[in-house]
Symmetry: C2
Subunit: 252 residues, 2 copies
């Protein structure tokens, strides 16, 4: 992890952007750090003008601590920096998103994100991941939640605790690599057929869902995460508002 | 869109959860509404105890407006409600995520999300989507950013303005459905081979990236979005902390 570079002062070209922000009575805006690959909201804090300026110049998420009354670069003590790829502003200019790549866990508890507690609306209870490193109760978007479900089915099968004794379809696929590969090829063919036979959008979405699910089971069988696949895609197609990247051969 | 149901009062089982929250000097916490399928941060506002209570009871994102000094259910005038599937809390209990399914655009400008302005760190300029309905400068996570890139390649090819006269690989695939289907089947086979021939995790991630990219081009060719595919997967596998769902036949 690179040591943060403290900017000496605001560079003039940043002034226009910073002048645009609508600071609250304490001179702050909300700053939300979001994982560029998984979409996870990593943490939320506040930022003053100097913190936003530092984030834009160093590419490391920087905030203003209301309790300690000072600017802090996330990771400056733990080494768990949050590398910011681009900064976004909301319609009324008082809230920022730092779209980012975290280096290590984002939370001081060592959880991957700060949002590891879920409110149970029926019981009123707070459900927390058993271990902080677990994502059991973190807000996952659909594809990553599916990945978590597949991992749970695998764990259940390995513990011999499948629901009602009958192994899940996921467990059957994981136990039978030949069947799994047969299904991935078959679903790819069915997806192609929706185009070839002009079967319509609903069938295409359904077959794409089949293919993605089976491909994700195949990735689980090899211990590969969707985050790693996303990183490959980002390295091939991604552009960043902050890092000026050397021109790559066009891949898309 | 359902009319919001105003809860008469806090139900007792919610008190424990609400007591847990760390309200600021104005009795507020930060509330971030995030799209459950795409991961987009839709909007950020503040919530008081009554607003969080109402969100948990109605399943519709509700906030406290600091300027109007009152509780408001997002969508109560526009009809553009945000259906909340689950609520998450951060480590120091002063920030919530409403993981949600928006009904219509989240922003009052009719943009899909409020974060449609991007800071350009090299020029200091603010880049805004040409039209509010566009997601050109919204914070997209990798897979959805790739979908946007594919759509841009298609638009460039249709406008005859491909870079340097040479059509992109994406444009070639879109112009040749036979080639596109051949590639999707081939990449599915190559992904399977990483398991069959034990080629290792790096190859598996790379082939999965190939397959996902080509499948996404095939979806673009049919006008199907990754969001629609995600919705299919959520309807098959998803569970919600707020909606009590009827038991479904197990699919995973
Ligand atoms: Zn550490
Ligand atoms: Zn705002
Ligand atoms: Zn934390
Ligand atoms: Zn199928
Ligand atoms: Zn409307
Ligand atoms: Zn907090
Ligand atoms: Zn807005
Ligand atoms: Zn190939
Ligand atoms: Zn390949």
């Amino acid at each position: 992890p690179p040591p943060p570079v403290r900017p000496e002062a605001e560079v003039p070209r940043m002034a226009a952007f910073l002048d645009n922000l609508k600071w609250d009575n304490n001179g702050l805006v909300v700053a939300i750090a979001q994982h560029a690959d998984t979409g996870e909201v990593l943490m939320q804090a506040f930022a003053d003008r100097a913190a936003v300026n530092e984030t834009l110049q160093t590419g490391l998420a920087t905030f203003y601590s209301r309790s300690r009354k000072g600017r802090w670069c996330k990771g400056e003590t733990s080494g768990h920096y949050i590398k910011v790829l681009s900064v976004y502003l909301d319609c009324d200019r008082d809230s920022l998103i730092y779209l980012a790549e975290p280096i290590g866990p984002a939370c001081h508890t060592n959880a991957p994100t700060c949002y590891f507690k879920q409110a149970d609306a029926s019981s009123g209870e707070l459900r927390t991941a058993g271990e902080h490193s677990s994502r059991a109760h973190a807000p996952m978007t659909t594809l990553f939640a599916l990945e978590r479900t597949i991992a749970q089915r695998r764990a259940e099968a390995e513990a011999g605790s499948s629901t009602g004794g009958k192994p899940s379809w996921t467990a059957k696929l994981l136990a039978n690599p030949e069947l799994l590969c047969k299904k991935v090829r078959e679903e790819a063919g069915e997806l192609c057929q929706t185009l070839e036979a002009n079967e319509g959008q609903e069938r295409a979405a359904s077959e794409a869902a089949d293919l993605i699910y089976h491909a994700m089971v195949l990735l689980n069988a090899q211990g590969v995460s969707l985050e790693e696949v996303s990183k490959v895609l980002r390295s091939r197609f991604g552009t960043s508002g902050i890092e000026e990247k050397a021109a790559r051969p066009p891949k898309a």
